[in-house]
């Protein structure tokens, strides 16, 4: 084997791309040939030098010309001013996104129930009596809707919702807002219709149901999260039935030691609202923590 042959193969030997058989031959030749061994040392030094050439020539970062072509950075407003707008936009997207995930039955059932209630109210003797009907019905409708809003047994979309990066609490809040807002809207609409029909002021009618509605819904939500939807429904309906009975009792004109205070409670909006808020906070704090996929 002549020197020249091995000479030609030395760069490939140095960078390890020689086939194994040739590599072995070169290695054996090198054992006995100081000239080729010296040349190999040169090729190895050349490798280091060539690498230094590349390292020195390569731009250290993405060249500015690239970014110039890419175009200006999308305008970012300073964090402070951007936040509220972005946050609102995100919340809106969240709300809208939750619509298909809420049980469809809730929309229809609420609307139908309120419609029936409204009809009954319209046929009542006085606007006040009609208002009473609404006042008794609206909170129940809302509470039932809310009880059904969140929980694996109700929720075709729950797995999807829990699997997303959005916090479960936020999802819950979004759903709540949707359902409660919807029921609130229905109740308001019914009240306005009733008031218009009877030529009465809607505000007192609204105040009849707004406190109880908030309270009962918050209670139903908490129960639905602590126990389950069925329990929440039963408790809400049970509690409300007691009230209905008491109201009927009162309607009879006889004062009652038990019914009067209870009824007073239900009319005490300034008390009911903070209680409702507390229950809601408790629900938000405690509830979503229990929902975890395996």
């Amino acid at each position: 084997m002549s020197d020249r042959h091995v000479s030609g193969a030395l760069p490939a030997y140095a960078n390890g791309t020689l086939p194994p058989e040739e590599s072995r031959r070169v290695r054996e030749h090198l054992r006995g040939c100081p000239d080729c061994a010296a040349e190999l040392a040169e090729w190895e030094l050349l490798s280091a030098a060539a690498r230094a050439v590349v390292a020195a020539a390569a731009p250290p970062r993405v060249p500015a010309g690239v970014w110039a072509e890419v175009g200006p950075e999308p305008h970012r407003a300073p964090r402070g001013s951007r936040r509220p707008v972005a946050a609102i936009s995100l919340l809106w997207q969240l709300l809208v996104g939750q619509v298909p995930l809420v049980r469809r039955a809730i929309w229809a059932a609420s609307a139908v129930t309120m419609a029936v209630g409204l009809l009954a109210a319209l046929f009542a003797t006085t606007p006040t009596a009609g208002g009473l009907v609404l006042g008794l019905l609206a909170p129940l409708v809302a509470a039932m809707g809310v009880a059904l809003v969140y929980g694996p047994e109700n929720d075709p979309g729950l797995e999807v919702a829990l699997a997303t990066p959005t916090a479960p609490r936020l999802v819950l809040l979004a759903r709540l807002t949707l359902v409660y807002g919807y029921d609130l809207g229905l109740a308001l609409l019914a009240t306005l219709v009733l008031a218009a029909r009877g030529g009465a002021d809607p505000l007192p009618l609204i105040s009849l149901w707004i406190g109880p509605m908030l309270f009962l819904s918050a209670l139903a939500l908490l129960l639905s999260l602590l126990l389950d939807a069925t329990a929440a429904l039963l408790v809400s309906m049970g509690l409300w039935s007691v009230r209905l009975i008491a109201a009927a009792d009162l309607g009879g004109g006889r004062p009652s030691a038990v019914a009067d205070p209870l009824d007073g409670l239900w009319h005490n909006t300034p008390l009911l609202l903070p209680l409702a808020a507390l229950l809601l906070l408790a629900a938000l704090w405690y509830g979503p923590g229990r929902e975890r996929l395996a």
Binding site: G8, L45, L46, A48, A50, V54, A57, V70
Partner: protein, 186 residues
Amino acid sequence: MSGARSEELELMQRIATGERRALEELYARHRLALFGYLLGTCPDRETAEEVLQDTLLAVWRGAASYEGRSALRTWLIGVARGQAHNTLRRRRLPLADESEIEALASGEPEPEAAALTNMTCDQLAAAINRLSPEHRQALVLVLVEGLSYQQAARELGVPLGTVRSRLSNARRALKGMLRAEEEVGR
């Protein structure tokens, strides 16, 4: 998909969403291999830098098309190759100098020359920068990019024998420079 590959895919997806820092990250990781390839296929540093910019731009715009089927480096070199071909073809850069092949074939013995190992790495690097493009390309592709003769021949679009002769002549030219410097020093 392996962990490394899915990491690469994630990086490319970040680039596809317009995250500039992700492109910087990609460049930091593959800078030497990418630029080494370009120095090995372009005639000079300026052209290599120009093609580098075109390549990075193409990566930025086409990031979504990387699906992780091949290694990211392979994909990047592929993009660089395409850009280099466009640029070099447009400029109709001259073909290989045929005379160097003849010099080797004549079988002339090498003139006595000092060993290159007498030079420091930096001195050699400076000398490499003064070599002709073909010589420098051959050195970079084989010694830095680690291509086989066959692969280098394919990249350069020349016969395998030309790669060998260019390497050999590069070394000869560097020895010539060393000898010239030593003579000046005397």
